[in-house]
């Protein structure tokens, strides 16, 4: 019955993950602003990058959660 503590351990890290959102937003904005000059283009590209990073990281979190559950 070891899978339950593992799953709980991952869930216990969720509050720390909240910091990911402002961090990702800032990284996306600065990166896009260094690529483009036009404000609408910066905002558009940074939103896209933010979504890409967030979806990738949440997907990875889900994968880890499933793996820890199965073990």
């Amino acid at each position: 019955m070891n899978f339950i503590p593992h799953s709980i351990l991952i869930l216990a890290q969720l509050p720390v993950l909240y910091y990911m959102f402002p961090l990702t937003a800032a990284i996306s904005l600065v990166y896009s602003a260094s690529r483009y000059e036009d404000p609408p283009a910066i905002l558009k590209k940074s939103f896209r990058l933010f979504m890409q990073i967030t979806v990738f990281m949440l997907g990875f979190l889900l994968l880890l959660y499933v793996l820890s559950y199965k073990m």
Binding site: A26, I27, V30, A33, S34, R35, Y36, E37, D38
Partner: protein, 323 residues
Amino acid sequence: MAHKKNFVSPSDSDYVLSLKTPALAAFLSWLIPGAGQMYQGRTFKGVLFCICILGMFFCGVQMGEGRPVYCYYEMSADRMDNQNGSARRFRNYGYISQFLVGLPALPAIVQTKRFDSPNNTNELDGPVDVLFEGVLLGGEDGQIQKVTGAINLKQSAGVRGPEIEGRFLGTLQPSGERVDLELRENNFNEGGSLGRKISADPKRYISLEVAKVVKGPESLGTVLQGTIPRPFRNWYQVPLQDPQLQDMNARLGKRWELAMVFTWIAGLLNILVIWDAYEGPAYDFHPQSIENEDEHSPHSSQAETPNQKQELKQKPPVSKVKL
């Protein structure tokens, strides 16, 4: 002027981006993120960089209770199994990326010098009258009594050098009974009576012997031990010592590490900002030599009559960019 750079948009050659003096702009962007872009007239980007990078940096500083930025840390001799009994220093390599944020991280260098200075002693700079919180030790049955209040300290010339004496006015916790104590330096105190002037802790350690109980129960205790506030300039960005580092790790856990990661990422992102100030945006613009500006400028090709040329000369340089 060869050091000035102009960039034109390939999609619309009417729009010219002037980087003014790129080296100066890059330096300004290092000093204060986004300042270089503001100097170049790129206000939107300047404000954006400033908010994002400084916001991230100070968010990290706040999460780490003002202590994640430091040049080195000290490990005590017993932790390092050091035979000669001296603490060992380790460089904080994370400071390299924090340094890239510029001005907000520079106090760490000054504070390292102040921390290492011979003036950083356990003595008082002058009389102090501050809040105190701590305990009274050595009472009846070895009980520890919590106290809070105000402490008044001054330094006088003693037989074996400067000695600290003072007075404590406060209340016993939780009973609220008022106490008034006369205090003097305890010469047998191994740890010293007072913590160092400059140390990476907002609270300064103090331990004094109770010389006389002016008001309160006689058998209250013999030693008053606790902390007094340390001025901000004496603890912010000061090198960390082993107990402080352990305290931060124990109390903050992952948040302590996150705090440092925030400050590191802020510094690393500022590389992009410095580069943007020096070279312009990565896409959609290509450099145009300023010496050939007259030949390639859309203004010069459009100006066909002397009147039109005169009119264009009077126009301010284009700094607004549109794709």
